[in-house]
Amino acid sequence: MKPRSLNRLGGPRALLLCVALMLPLAAAAIDALPFKDRAEEQRFQNLTRQLRCLVCQNESLADSSADLAKDLREEVFEQMRQGKSDDEIKHYLTARYSDFVLYNPPLRGGTFLLWFGPLLVLLIGSMVVARIVRRRGATKSSAPPASTTEEDW
């Protein structure tokens, strides 16, 4: 009888309980800001995910547990409450920490290569490939292989 009563807490039910118990922990892992509704929280998360933490530069402001990141999250939250737009908040941060804080840097003279560099490389690459293909085609037509059976692989 005994093992049976123990069994009632085993398996999927126990797992579910564990997960349920851990949920508030996951939510409070960073810090608890008093969001008034889900939309506000989503806007905050969306915004802070686009911003880089200055201390741990591979982390977003949303993920970082650095002290400064916490302060900046609070600042972002307060400015949201003051009715500032996302752009205004981003401007507030770039005025202090430069474009570095944005994961999505603005398009301007200095960032032209950053935005269009890959496209440029792709263009050059396809030009090279096109040239090679065209040349191969040209050599084939001008001098057809003498034998098609021997080394045709």
Binding site: L68, D71, F100, V101
Partner: protein, 181 residues
């Protein structure tokens, strides 16, 4: 042109790019966040003096002569390395060094200064780090050279070294004196 040289040329181009990258990273730290505040007025602040909350210091109080604003904290290890340099060479700059105590417990900061010495003309305390955000501070130590008009002329991220004093701070101060600021 010999078509067989094209792959070699391509390789040389990539190698040159790599070489430039290595050279660039040796001379420029990619982790340093460039300050957009250089050449702009120092952010407006009004902060209490460390250990004396009644007394406050603002930008206006510091106008008229250049100063070095040095961000430090008792919890900051690199500040401990920097401190002897400020003690030894601070006076030779000939300008006030303003201590900016960043997110620190005033008691800890006071003890820290008593233990290691106080190179500052005055120490202001930013306990919440709000003014530090306005200055674009993201760690300690950091230092700002501000001219007599209240314009930030130079920012050092990390510890001040004798090289920084000799090759970055002093030439700039000299230029400022030349310009009568």
């Amino acid at each position: 042109m010999n078509a067989r040289l094209i792959p070699l040329l391509g390789f040389a181009l990539v190698a040159a790019l790599l070489g430039f990258g290595i050279h660039y990273m040796r001379n420029n730290s990619l982790n340093e966040v460039p300050s957009p505040l250089i050449g702009k007025p120092a952010p407006v602040f009004d902060l209490p003096v460390l250990g004396n909350d009644e007394k406050r210091i603002s930008n206006a109080d510091l106008r008229g002569q250049p100063y070095l604003l040095n961000v430090f904290a008792s919890w900051c290890f690199a500040c401990r390395d920097e401190h002897p340099i400020l003690m030894a060479e601070g006076k030779s700059l000939g300008i006030p060094i303003i201590g900016f105590n960043y997110k620190d417990d005033p008691a800890d900061a006071t003890r820290w200064l008593a233990q290691f010495g106080d190179p500052y003309s005055v120490v202001i305390a930013d306990r919440e780090g709000r003014v530090a955000i306005d200055f674009g501070v993201y760690g300690a130590p950091e230092s700002f050279l501000v001219d007599g008009d209240g314009i930030i002329r130079y920012k050092r991220i990390g510890a001040i070294t004798p090289e920084i004093v000799a090759f970055e701070l002093k030439p700039r101060l000299k230029a400022m004196q030349g310009a009568g600021k």
